[in-house]
Amino acid sequence: MTSAAPPRAAAPQSAAPRTATLASALNSALRDAMRDDPSVHVLGEDVGTLGGVFRITDGLAAEFGADRCLDTPLAEAGILGTAVGMAMYGLRPVVEMQFDAFAYPAFEQLVSHVARMRNRTAGRMPLPITIRIPYGGGIGGVEHHSDSSEAYYAHTPGLHVVTPATVADGYGLLRSAIASDDPVVFLEPKRLYWSKDDWSAEAPTPIEPIGRAVVRRQGSSATLLTYGPSLPVCLEAAEAARAEGWDLSVVDLRSLAPFDDETVAAAVRATGRAVVVHESAGFAGVGAEIAARVTERCFHHLAAPVLRVTGFDIPYPPPMLEEHHLPGVDRILDAVSKLQWEQ
């Protein structure tokens, strides 16, 4: 088994910054990874001629051929199982699952083989597979198109679970995921696909290592801990909180597994109050783990219990009702107001 060539270093930032979408940055990451390493192969439903239903693989089949960007039969377990065999033979497959809830048929391959093969074989048979999954709601999708399935994956030892929230991270984290010798579940917040930021494919941002959270907004009153599709909501809430006299920190976790206890604990200790925000159901969710970890590490620094703002414990609602389910600015501010402020 060979390691991938190290990801290309970032180009100097001399080119004039331009705006790009998260979707285009992900596309650039795939293209650059395929150019740099001939063992990188993309496979999935509609990824070839169509370029994927979200166009993340647009142009890859034209540039690299149908073998390297493979339109597969419509069978998610078969896609991931085939990728396992390809990885065993030294390839570095990048699998696209079309939607979060369509990835469930691949769950057995993921849990029983992808996550365990390195461990099962005492390190002799690593599986460097990236599993890209568009996830989350907020796009008006009908049933089975808006799930937040991160807790299932984060609960599985042997997997890395990564989710970008910015255009730059879309590129940097996907490059790291593909270069990783471990399997990475790469959760793409689909409602941010069309979000724009200053970013240029000609001058890509540095490769972002997996496993590091980042403080997106430095505040002093309380700390919002969030990731993926909820990051922009939290940043908006932090702006709105200024009117209430609260100066909020916002931490973008980026990597759910491994978890960056260090950055998170430091950010919570600095304010003494914390709210975890995510879309998926709260019960037994990632937020429960985060709240427990923060409490274990920051108990004597906390002025209030760690609160969670999450989706309700319900099956994902029909699109015309999803606004009531998704954590919004008001619900986040309500939680912040309950952090036992002294009068």
Partner: protein, 383 residues
């Protein structure tokens, strides 16, 4: 260049959804292929190298049977946690190793330990899963043998992916996946065959139809005419062979591997055989099948069939039979010696290979276990 057929000829046309190929050539034989007890055996005897091949198959059957017996004994002595014996299926197990070349890949399931050993993997390393000291004790890359797969048929798509990757690289590698009759009901079996057909991957699926999925007989498992007929729905070749006829299995599997290697496409081989023992040592087969049924199949034991027909054909004598028995005893003796030594266990290894680099959380947990072990050792020393 692409190895896949994605040119415009395959694009939609008004006729593209109609019948695309004649299914007849894909159909398996109407009766399982047999060689023992047929004129075909004489042809094998008379072919160059034929007698040597037949004696070698016999020898490996005898050794294989002894492997099954010794492993079963080891469970009774507490040396193995569990053993799903392939007793009665040895003809299939040894044929696999014979059909594959070095560089080809084997994807076994948990009952296929004899196939793994026949491929050259050490018995001690092969049986760690069933001994309980390690999940996969061998290096898959040393003999091109994937880890024994416990979730049924889930390794079949791996065989397809590996064969596909080999073909992309221009290698002549063939992958062979072993599945049981019960495993053919799994979705992964279906998806593997479908992908294999679409990708035209050089892969062979060997279904050992031993009559039972633990307790459930084939009649409750599938309404297919034969399991080999399942190939046709995926546009791949089906073959049907008597799984207790070692010469027939060797021949048909060899042809299937050659078919796949030549680029002609995947093959599904159903070998009709019988599980003479219970599902495992923990199972009671008397609850679901009769002694008469088992006795009937004992008369079709692959080992006795082979010995009888080869003796009749004049290619096997007392000397060869005794030599095979001696080699079998040697293996059994070696297994006893190997397994009567307690395995070395390193608790700290639990954390070593979860990821390429342990996460901070795993480092913490490893430190916790190390402290517990140190405390235990200190307590032990005080005593």
């Amino acid at each position: 260049m692409t190895v896949l057929d994605h040119d415009l000829a395959t694009a939609w046309t008004p006729d593209a959804h109609g019948p695309r190929r004649d299914p007849a050539p894909l159909l398996p034989e109407s009766e399982p292929v047999r060689i023992l007890g047929t004129p075909a055996l004489r042809r094998t005897v008379d072919s160059p190298g034929g007698p040597e091949l037949l004696r070698d198959l016999h020898r490996r059957l005898v050794v294989g049977r002894r492997f099954n017996q010794q492993a079963t004994t080891l469970t009774k002595q507490g040396r193995l946690a569990v053993y799903p014996a392939s007793t009665g299926q040895e003809a299939c197990q040894i044929a696999v190793a014979g059909a594959l070349r070095p560089g080809d890949w084997l994807f076994p399931s948990y009952r296929d330990t004899l196939a793994v050993v026949s491929r050259g993997v050490d018995p001690l390393e092969t049986l760690t899963l069933l001994r309980g000291n390690a999940h996969c004790g061998y290096d898959p890359y040393e003999h091109q043998v994937a880890p024994l797969s416990t979730p049924l048929a889930t390794q079949a798509p791996h065989a397809v992916g590996l064969a596909h990757a080999a073909r992309l690289r221009g290698d002549s590698t063939v992958a062979l996946a072993m599945v049981g009759d019960g495993g053919t009901s799994e979705g992964d079996f279906h998806e593997a065959l479908n992908f294999a057909g679409v990708l035209n991957a050089p892969v062979v699926f060997l279904v050992q139809n031993n009559g039972y999925a633990i307790s459930v007989p084939l009649a409750k498992q599938s309404a297919a005419p034969t399991l080999a007929h399942k190939a046709v729905g995926y546009g791949i070749q089906g073959r049907l062979v008597d799984g207790n006829d070692a010469v027939a299995v060797h021949t048909v599997l060899g042809e299937a591997v050659q078919h796949a290697r030549s680029g002609a496409g995947p093959v599904l081989v159903e070998a009709v055989t019988y599980r003479l023992e219970a599902h495992t040592n923990a199972d009671d087969a008397g609850r679901y099948r009769s002694a008469e049924e088992v006795a009937g199949w004992r008369e079709r034991d692959p080992l006795t069939l082979m010995e009888r027909h080869l003796r009749e054909a004049g290619v096997l004598g007392d000397q060869e039979v005794a030599a095979a028995a001696a080699e079998a005893e040697e293996l059994a003796d070696r297994m006893r010696t190997l397994f009567h030594v307690k395995p070395e266990l390193d608790p700290m290894s639990l954390f070593t290979h979860v990821y390429a680099e342990p996460t901070p959380q795993l480092r913490e947990q490893a430190a916790q276990l190390a402290a517990e072990l140190a405390a235990e050792a200190a307590t032990g020393a005080e005593r």
